[in-house]
């Protein structure tokens, strides 16, 4: 650990009722084999690779469902202790948090000109006429951007980092602890 102290508000996902509080819970994450496939491809094509992670990614996920939460102990609004909170965005622990985040991410990458692949929802492909391709590999909040042209990849990555609060990891030594 790096000495930082961490605390996180977590939703009691186990109390959610299927069909009422959540519907689908799968979250498209990139397969390990796809990550290796992309790394092998990048090696063959001599691509530039750069990484980042998105801070508290799940908290950005927009919720379709109407979900209420008890006020956390010690943080209740004085005089309004009996009220509950309405969640507008996902919290860690919520069953649909992963999927909600992926949908939000997918939407934002579309705005940048990316499309997710049909055969792999964790790979986003950027292709425009007159410019080099950029491929993004995303595992929840860990992302790699790669492509043949460093300037193009860095420019796209910078645009992405303006949308989300990220930690720039530069040229990666590891991904998903592989």
């Amino acid at each position: 650990m790096d000495g930082r102290k961490k605390a996180r508000l977590v939703a009691k996902g186990f109390s959610q009722v299927e069909g009422l509080d959540f519907d689908q819970v799968f979250s498209p994450v990139v397969h390990f084999e796809t990550v290796r496939l992309m790394l092998a491809l990048a090696a063959l094509e001599n691509w530039y690779i750069t990484g980042l992670d998105i801070r508290s990614a799940y908290l950005y996920g927009k919720l379709d469902e109407e979900i209420y939460m008890e006020q956390p102990k010690g943080f209740a609004v004085p005089g309004q202790e009996r009220k509950v909170l309405r969640l507008w965005r996902a919290l860690y622990g919520l069953k649909q948090a992963g999927l909600a985040w992926w949908r939000t991410l997918d939407e934002s990458l579309k705005e940048l000109g990316f499309e997710h692949l049909k055969s792999e929802a964790g790979i986003f492909f950027y292709k425009k006429k007159g410019t080099n391709i950029v491929i993004s590999i995303i595992y929840v909040d860990d992302a790699l951007f790669c492509g043949p042209n460093k300037a193009v990849v860095d420019a796209i990555k910078a645009q992405f980092m303006r949308k989300w609060e990220c930690r720039d990891l530069g040229e990666p030594n590891e991904f998903l602890r592989m």
Partner: protein
């Protein structure tokens, strides 16, 4: 554990786990599951060389015996000796996509199920690998190989379409197998008395061959690295095949 003597293979050559007939020991089971869970993660990430050992012992996760626990620790001892190995993709090799399959017919002495093993390689390093016991008992080694070939073709098809979406137009992908009979069955629409019972989904491979998406290639069984994904091999053979997977000591480091 860190000071333990390292083992040269993940499990002893020819080892098969036998079913535990004793009642469940909850403490032992939780210890076993914790260790094998970690091993599974390593195997899925960068360690194809322990795929057979891990998936084989995983079959006993609901009621492991002391022997099973000893054997998962044996895998750990193997990993200690090879902790600096890494999967290397050699961009300079220019090596395209290639697959290798193998199976071991009726090898498990308790279940009589056959083992499937196959991998896909790109840039001279493994990108995808599988080792699992087949779901049904089969009559012959040809049939066991056919099942493996068929599963491998599915994986190749998926990889092809993924690369296709990225703009790569690929020629037929080579799949290597060491069984002439299964290659013949896959390449020719024959139904013999001995193969007519095979489930229709396994015949999808015909389609891939006819369309020219895959091409089947015979290799000598003694030279088939996918062998490593179907059984516990003796040391020399294991080391030879491991080197062919792209698992290497990083040069220049300790």
């Amino acid at each position: 554990m860190l000071n333990a003597k390292s083992a040269s293979t993940p499990l002893p050559a020819g080892y098969y786990a036998t079913k535990n007939t004793e009642p469940v020991d909850a403490e032992l089971r939780s210890h076993f599951q914790m260790v094998i869970g970690s091993l599974l993660y390593l195997m899925l990430g960068t360690r194809p060389n322990i795929a057979f050992a891990v998936t084989h012992l995983l079959l006993h996760a609901t009621n492991p015996s002391q022997d099973h626990l000893n054997k998962v620790l044996y895998i750990c001892r193997y990993l200690i000796g090879t902790s600096t190995y890494s999967l290397v993709y050699n961009g300079g090799s220019g090596a395209g996509l290639i697959a290798c399959t193998d199976s071991d017919w009726g090898s498990d002495p308790t279940s009589h199920l056959s083992q499937t093993g196959f991998y896909l390689k790109l840039a001279d390093g493994l990108i995808s690998w599988t080792s699992h016991a087949q779901k049904t008992i089969v009559y012959s080694s040809t049939e066991a190989e056919y099942m493996a070939l068929s599963n491998c073709t599915c994986q190749v098809t998926w990889t092809r379409s993924l690369l296709g979406e990225l703009g790569y137009k690929l020629k037929a992908i080579l799949i290597c197998s060491d069984n002439q009979g299964s290659i013949f069955m896959a390449s020719n629409p024959v139904t013999e008395p001995r193969s007519k019972h095979i489930d229709i989904r396994y015949h999808r491979i015909h389609e891939s061959v006819v369309k020219g998406n895959v091409e089947l290639f015979f290799i000598d069984g003694a030279e088939n690295p996918a062998n490593l994904l179907t059984k516990n091999l003796p040391r020399e053979k294991f080391a030879k095949f491991r080197a062919q997977l792209g698992l290497q000591f990083p040069s220049g480091s300790i």
